[in-house]
């Protein structure tokens, strides 16, 4: 059984990830303002949602001219994976069900991965989950704040290629998830269905089609 880790050790392990999350938060703030979201809204979204890929996905839909409902739908579907991580961390969190459900709000892909690496098999490390989670939450919100303040100074987002940042980000996130044949199959199926539906249907439909194909091809 690994010895309990000190806060200092956890912070050292978290530091490089925190830096990446910070830069990511800055880019979210910049892109949100470029998508004509007020600065306060970008910060509020990071405060309340705290799920980078979903926030970017929602913003991507809005930037592409999709409706608010489509944006919520895209972001929420991406977050469905947190049901699985929630189950995985439930036993590691302290307190009763309600307290655990509240603490589970600071679980993201990054601190989950750190906690799994630091914990025993089937039991992610509690301290790592909480300390790294709180750190990442802080830098994510701070990054968004700075990005939202910086955005208007940067000028035309297209001239800076910021519109290309969305597909670049999504493809980079996708590569991380392509472990195993099932994931590759789901990705190819999702893209194919979206492309077939896109010319004939309003913006939300291709994503819904991709979601159904993803669920269907997952096993």
């Amino acid at each position: 059984m690994p010895a309990a880790r000190s806060t200092r050790e956890i912070l050292q392990a978290t530091a490089p990830i925190a830096l990446a999350v910070f830069v990511f938060g800055v880019s979210f703030g910049v892109l949100a303002v470029a998508a004509h979201l007020p600065g306060w809204a970008a910060v509020l979204m990071s405060l309340l949602v705290f799920a980078g890929s979903a926030q970017f996905a929602a913003l991507g839909v809005i930037t592409a001219g999709g409706s608010v409902l489509t944006a919520i739908f895209a972001g929420a579907l991406l977050n469905l994976r947190f049901i699985a991580t929630g189950i995985a961390v439930a036993r590691s969190l302290p307190g009763g069900r309600v307290k655990r459900a509240l603490l589970a709000q600071i679980v993201t892909d990054e601190n989950y991965a750190l906690a799994v690496a630091a914990g025993e098999p089937g039991r992610p490390d509690r301290q790592t989950l909480l300390v790294a989670g709180a750190t990442l939450y802080g830098v994510w919100v701070l990054g968004t704040l700075i990005g939202a303040a910086l955005g208007p100074v940067l000028g035309d987002p297209k001239r800076l290629g910021l519109d290309a940042a969305f597909p670049a980000l999504f493809v980079a996130l996708l590569w991380r998830m392509l472990s195993g044949r099932h994931a590759v199959r789901c990705a190819l199926g999702g893209a194919a269905v979206a492309l077939v539906l896109a010319p004939f249907t309003p913006p939300g439909v291709p994503l819904a089609g991709a979601a159904i194909v993803g669920l269907w091809l997952a096993r």
């Binding site: 979903a54 926030q55 297209k158 940042a165 590569w175 392509l178 993803g214 669920l215």
Partner: protein, 103 residues
Amino acid sequence: MAGPLTLGLILGLASLTFVMKAAGPLLPNIPAAITARTAGLAPALLAALVAIELTGPNGVIHLDVKVPAVIVASALAARRVPFIVCVIAGALVAALLRAAFHL
């Protein structure tokens, strides 16, 4: 975007995310068969988002600077380059091509 719509977006996404993150600790007995299937959602959606980003207003793939940007980001991501670098490289490719060809 108008204020109420913006607030609707934020609160809608926030409350759904809250429910999903809370579900595990509140309902620890969700069948594994269901959670295993949700694993297929993220790759399918991300791939669909990439595809949609590359289509024009008519819904058909549109060859502009986003295409080379995605190819470069994808090639970097495949080499396990940190993803913020992939994103910056993608944006840079788009910005440089636009500046070079006055697109």
